[in-house]
């Protein structure tokens, strides 16, 4: 008895189909796997980028979470006090004292290394540390031996830059801190660098962990040198002082996540600097008479003076003290140096006017408790008007002045430019002569003057702040002032005044008048005076002042910077690499999915008769499609899983490419990327890949909806509908001509435009040409397949050509897709950018120094002063300075998100140079109010007073910085905020955009705006240089030699621009490379399409064999058909692409890489040949008879 078989089910049909048609289904699986691999790979590249940035961000900090980076040095003991605080002890695992000096230069001296190699490196960060610093990082980055006196540890990056080895000797050039702001006329301009020499390299640590400690967020490892804290303190003359505190929170409080709220988890250290830390002194000054021990000495004056070691009080700090001290009856004083006090000759016949040189003048509002403007009876003189001046008796006598006379004060302007002081003058009317008692005994070395007659409140040298080299000298002959000083002007009387009165002011003006003349960005107050009494003691004033200073400690450099939180925010990056690589891989994915569709469709067509019989026996189309989709589902699922795994390989390959200098390293600057895969991305990739793959197979079954059963039974999937209704195409014969005309017009327009407009016009022209070709080809195949083949011209190739267009729609689609892909991939070259003259602004070099340069390199006098006998080297060169506030690099070279972009202050020199019409200038993308007109000098928009509301800073930036780093819209007038520190949020307003410039990465503002918000900036650090022809290298060398201590490095502007443009160009190359891979897959797709056609013609080919054609000849015929389609596709694409690319390259002078283009085409042709050969062989294996009997 025959056993009853089990019944039939869809799943059984599916399983049997898999076993029977496994070849074609495996190829579909491979297609889904490939598409999923590309998708997942792109996601994993994004994961890897984020992970790598995060790793960099956290690795370089070790356990450090926060830092206090002082503007000046403060007591190291502050750290111990912080550590003893219970709240700090609970929150922080470590509080470490350090000295950090940035942007210094290093030089290698003698040692085991070859001396001939370059020995200088700029941009070095020097860390003076204790062993506690190294405990903040992993052991792998610690040197085996910590540096002691005269020893240094280098990180690998600096060691490589110096070609230094262990045992070599290093010199470090350190900035000498000057308490007085450097741009003040009373600050030293020269000798601001001192050397720390003969440091022996005892270890080189890897550039990881604390070996790449950096306060900025960038992927390039910094150049680091480490010395002991004591060594650096001694070298700087800052014993027991530091400028940085590093804080490591206890691990439970560390910010690890990337969420914005992570900063809220930052602890806030208890930080109580004292007055010494702030550089503030509260000193009691009292003058008793008689000063000898006396039972009842009279108090001439007794007050507490609150002064800063910076000479001038910062305006915000002064305002805070003003508020705090006002209830105590405080008096604000502004004492300034007058180059001369002279009586203006009024033609009244008195003795010739005299001038008193180098005298102190105090601006204040005298009042009862403090004076000092008392008359002969000791009564307070009423406040001076703003045009009045009071002279002390000595001065009045010296100048033979009477009340009502006009006095002229000459003085240096309170701010310098390029270190040059400029003198100004102001005139006042004498309204009072203040008594001044002559001491009986002059000042001694450590002894004040002694009086035998009652002194007045004007006998007060403490009204003048300390100016090193001036006020602290015993004799006027010993003055070593930082300003232009002519000792020949000093008379004997002046010397006597110095001996007996020292810095006692010789004249007084109102506080308002003084601020009108001498107020600056550095401040307008030199001291506060508070009357001392029973209730106002030193301790009480100290407490009041300390509390006031704590309220503005951020402005005094005691802000706590959330380094870890900032780093994590920056590590989110500017470019979403997931989407970027999805875009790059788009062609590859599309090609893989098209291949899936083609292969699945091929499988369907091979089984068309099976599907036909199903329809004939009553299967509804939806059920038939459901069966096919049920077959596709396991393919999609399995392909998704395999593809996700393969995606890891694809991602690893991409990352290898991004780490390779030969490939795409230029896109990321340094090979820091490491592979990282997240489960989320793998799942998303697998799911999406499976879903898309399944979706594609679903679309492939759509023709079955309307498929004629009869045709299916005949193994013809093409529907009857496709044979009719396309007469409309026949009627559109004029369209290709029209498209050709459009292409020509766009080409002509493109020749007249420039920049992206030109590239776009040529691209569109090429696209129009491509469309014209495709349409013309279709019409040719469809409606005019060719004259009958004449016997004389009937050859294999002609037959192949006729056969290639047999199915006009399919053939045109195949060639069109190949052509389109080829066109896009090649035509993208039109958007490659090359360094242009306008990109460099017409400048040959761009120079940057670590330390500010005060020399005036814009004038012959300044060059002479700076370069001496070598000044002639700079003859004919244009050197334009810019000020710089250090910050993040907001160019596309920096993958970290820029939170505080560097600022450049555009000087007057730059503005004037931009007005010139005889030199090239930067290219502009847009300028406010200049739409539709030629942009003349948009730099001037930075100074247009009506351009921005009060408090909003006009800014110019490169378009790439705006769009990609800062994610702005590029619209004129757009505002954005940047926090440059706690309570230092600046609002900017875009007034112009540069186009493809070398200044990408910084924000350009007017110099005055920069100095308003960063008053302590001094000197210039960025220079744009235009050199006479042929003399550039000599000029660069001379500048680097002259300013080696400041770490000046001169770089070709074209090279800098090339590096910036390399990122964009590398992205294009990546797109083209991956697109080419997609084209290779496309070539396989062409072969698959051919295979379908061949199978349709199986009986026809079998007939040829029966008629005596050898298999090889038939194979040649089919190959020729395949190569015809491939060649047409590539040819049309290349032709259209050349139309798009060549004119642009000709006009811009850039070059097209013919080698890579040829290589790509060769790879595609070879792949097409191989796959076509394989498909033909598969078909020709079929026996003739069965093919003739079974046409389908």
């Amino acid at each position: 008895m025959v056993q009853r078989p089990s019944t039939l089910s869809i799943s059984r049909v599916v399983a049997r189909t898999f076993r029977h048609h496994w070849r074609i289904l495996i190829s579909v699986l491979l297609g889904v796997t490939l598409a999923t691999a590309v998708l997942t790979g792109a996601l994993l590249v994004g994961d890897s980028m984020l992970d790598s940035l995060r790793h960099l961000a956290l690795d370089r900090l070790g356990d450090i979470d926060q830092a206090v980076i002082g503007q000046h040095f403060f007591r190291a003991a502050l750290v111990e006090e912080m550590a003893k605080d219970d709240a700090n002890a609970q929150s922080y695992a470590a509080i470490v004292p350090t000295i950090l000096l940035s942007a210094i230069s290093a030089e290698r001296g003698t040692g085991p290394s070859t001396p001939a190699q370059p020995t200088r490196a700029a941009g070095v960060t020097l860390i003076g540390s204790t062993p506690a610093f190294w405990e903040l990082g992993p052991a792998s980055s610690r040197p085996k031996e910590l540096p002691s006196d005269r020893e240094v540890v280098l990180n690998r990056t600096l060691a490589d830059a110096l070609h230094a080895q262990v045992g070599d000797s290093i010199v470090l050039r350190l900035p000498v801190g000057d308490q007085v702001p450097a741009d003040s006329p009373l600050a030293q301009k020269s000798n601001r660098i001192r050397s720390l020499a003969q440091l022996r390299v005892i270890a080189i640590v890897p550039a990881s962990g604390l070996g790449r400690f950096d306060l900025t967020n960038q992927q390039q490892p910094p150049r680091l040198a480490y010395v002991s804290l004591a060594t650096l303190q001694r070298a700087l003359g800052q014993d027991h002082k530091i400028n940085t505190i590093l804080l490591a929170q206890r691990s439970s409080l560390q910010a690890e996540s990337l969420t914005p709220s992570s900063s809220q988890r930052d602890a806030s250290p208890i930080l109580r600097p004292n007055l010494e830390d702030f550089g503030v002194s509260v000193t009691r000054h009292q003058l008793l008479f008689p000063d000898a021990p006396s039972p009842t000495p009279e108090r001439v004056f007794d007050y507490l003076q609150i002064a800063t070691d910076r000479m001038m009080w910062d305006p915000r700090v002064a305002q805070a003290l003003h508020v705090a001290l006002k209830p105590l009856g405080a008096q604000e004083v502004l004492t300034y140096l007058a180059n001369s006090i002279e009586r203006v000759d009024q033609g009244d016949g008195r003795s010739p006017p005299r001038a008193i040189p180098y005298s102190m003048v105090s601006a204040l509002d005298s009042h009862h408790d403090l004076g000092p403007l008392d008359d002969v009876k000791g009564q307070v003189i009423a406040s001076l008007a703003d045009d009045e001046i009071a002279l002390n008796q000595w001065t009045a006598d010296r100048l033979a002045v009477r009340l009502g006379d006009i006095i002229r004060l000459r003085y240096f302007l309170p701010e310098t430019t390029h270190g040059d002081v400029r003198e100004a003058a102001a005139e006042f009317r004498v309204s009072a002569i203040i008594p001044l008692t002559e001491p009986a005994r002059p000042f001694g070395t450590q002894q004040p003057a002694a009086f035998d007659q009652r002194p007045t409140r004007a006998n007060d040298p403490h009204l003048t702040p300390t100016v090193v080299g001036v006020t602290d000298e015993a004799s006027i002959e010993d003055w070593d002032p930082p300003f232009p000083y002519d000792p020949s002007r000093i008379t004997k009387e002046d010397e006597v005044y110095w001996d007996f009165h020292r810095t006692t002011p010789k004249a007084f003006v109102s506080l308002a008048a003084g601020r009108r003349l001498w107020n600056s960005r550095f401040g307008g107050t030199t001291s506060f005076r508070v009357p001392h009494g029973d209730k106002i003691t030193r301790d009480s004033v100290v407490a009041t002042v300390t509390a006031a200073l704590w309220g503005v400690k951020n402005d005094l450099g005691f802000a706590v910077l959330p380094l870890r939180s900032d780093a994590l925010r920056a590590a989110r990056g500017t470019t979403d690499f997931q989407y970027l690589f999805l875009g790059f891989s788009g062609f590859l994915m599309i090609a893989a999915l098209l291949l899936v569709a083609l292969l699945f469709r091929l499988g369907i067509e091979r089984r068309a008769s099976e599907l036909g019989i199903l329809s004939a026996v009553g299967w509804k189309p939806a059920r038939i499609r459901g069966l096919l989709l049920a077959e596709a589902l396991p393919l999609a699922l399995f392909g998704g899983i395999l593809g996700a795994a393969a995606g890891a390989g694809y991602a690893a390959l991409m990352i290898a490419g991004l780490r390779s200098p030969q490939w795409w390293l230029a896109a990321v600057s340094t090979p820091f990327l490491r592979f990282h895969a997240s489960l989320t991305s793998l799942v998303i990739g697998a799911s999406c890949g499976a879903l898309i793959g399944w979706g594609v197979t679903f679309l492939s079954t759509r023709p079955l909806r309307h498929a004629s059963v009869r045709r299916l039974l005949s193994n013809q999937l093409q529907t009857a509908a496709s044979a009719v209704g396309d007469g409309a195409w026949h009627g559109l014969r004029w369209v290709p001509m029209l498209l050709l005309v459009v292409a020509v017009i766009l080409g002509l327009l493109g020749a007249r435009w420039d920049g992206e407009g030109q590239a776009g016009a040529f691209f569109t022209s090429g696209a129009a040409l491509l469309a014209a070709q495709c349409l013309a080809l279709y019409q040719r195949w469809r409606y005019a397949p060719g004259r009958s083949l004449q016997p004389a011209s009937m050859g294999l190739l002609q037959l192949a050509g006729r056969n290639a267009g047999r199915n006009a729609g399919r053939s045109t689609l195949t060639t069109g897709l190949m052509a389109a892909a080829c066109f896009i991939i090649i035509a993208m070259s039109a958007f490659r950018v090359a360094p242009t003259l306008r990109g460099t602004g017409g400048f040959d070099f761009i120079a940057e120094s670590g330390q500010p340069i005060f020399a005036d390199l814009t004038t012959p006098t300044g060059r002479q002063a700076a370069l001496g006998e070598n000044a002639h080297v700079l003859d004919g060169a244009v050197i334009l300075p810019l000020r710089r506030q250090a910050g993040d690099d907001a160019s596309c070279r920096n993958l970290f998100r820029s939170q505080r972009p560097a600022l450049l202050g555009v000087t007057e020199e730059v503005l004037r140079d931009a007005d010139r019409t005889d030199v090239a200038h930067f290219a502009w993308a847009a300028g406010m109010g200049m739409e539709g007109t030629t942009l003349q000098n948009p730099w001037r928009l930075l100074h247009a007073d009506d351009a921005s509301p009060v408090g909003v800073i006009p800014v110019i930036l490169d378009k790439n910085t705006a769009l990609y780093a800062l994610k702005l819209s590029g619209r004129m007038g757009e505002t954005f905020d940047v926090e440059y520190g706690p309570e230092k949020r600046l609002t900017f307003r875009v007034v112009a955009l540069l186009s493809g410039s070398v200044l990408q990465g910084s924000l350009m503002v007017a110099e005055r705006d920069l100095l308003t918000h960063f008053p302590n900036l001094a000197g210039q650090q960025v220079f744009l240089i235009r050199a006479p022809a042929g003399r550039g290298p000599e000029i660069a060398r001379q500048l680097e030699t002259t300013f080696a201590d400041q770490g000046l490095q001169v770089e070709l502007a074209a090279d800098r621009l090339d590096q910036l443009l390399a990122v964009q160009n590398t992205y294009l190359s990546t797109f083209q490379s991956l697109g080419a891979l997609g084209l290779v897959l496309g070539a396989i797709g062409v072969a698959v399409v051919q295979l379908r056609g061949v199978e349709e013609r199986r009986s026809e080919l079998a007939l040829l064999q029966a008629a005596g054609f050898r298999r090889a000849r038939i194979a040649q015929l089919v190959l020729a058909e395949n190569m015809t389609l491939l060649g047409l596709g590539l040819g049309m694409g290349v032709l259209a692409a050349l139309v798009a690319v060549l004119p642009h390259h000709q006009l811009t002078g850039s070059s097209l890489s013919i080698t890579s283009l040829a290589g790509m085409l060769m790879a595609i042709i070879v792949t097409g040949l191989v796959s076509a050969t394989l498909s033909v062989r598969a078909v020709l294996r079929s026996p003739i008879v069965s093919a003739l009997r079974h046409p389908g």
């Binding site: 039939l8 089910s9 048609h21 008769s609 099976e610 199903l614 004939a616 004629s708 009869r710 039974l713």
Partner: protein, 223 residues
Amino acid sequence: MPALILDKIQKQFPTPDKPVVVLRDIDLRMENGQSLAIVGPSGSGKSTLLHLIGTLDRPTAGQLTLDGRDLLAMNPQALADFRNLQLGFVFQEHYLLPQLTAFENVLIPALARGRPQFDVTARALELLQKLGLEHRQSHRPAELSGGERQRVALARALLHRPRLLLADEPTGNLDHETARAMGQLLLQMQQQHAEMILIVVTHSLELARQMHRCLQLDNGKLA
């Protein structure tokens, strides 16, 4: 009233120049239980006519009714159901699914409406038995002879006891003896199913003579 009515059926195929008329004004009436052979030269449109009757294609003009139902007015879903339950096809090419066994191929029409029920599977076995394929039911088409494959195709066509059995050159790929046996089987099966109408397109005059009627299709007309 005739069970099957073809009234002025026309079929033409479009070409870029002018349409090619294959069938002109075809009129046909058939009663229950009748058999018809359609003969004619190659390219005369015999298979086209059979495909039109079997609703595998649509005529350009004319009417087609079976048991009073206008087949041309049915939507595709209804047509599929109609073919599943009322029509059976036997083609020159067997069109067996190569991955399924003979038994499973017979059950294919039943799978169109869901998992085959017991009665249907019993019917399939019965048919295979009647057609002498009981011991070949678990063999795949590649393991069957040409005649056996056609018999499986016949069993498939008869699974739902169709109202109309259409055979297009059912013996075209068979040798003489097998073809004769196949012809006999067709008639037997038709006789065993009352009211079944059998229409055969054939070049075989021997087979055609065994039908109740024989019509020649020539120049698009049925005579």
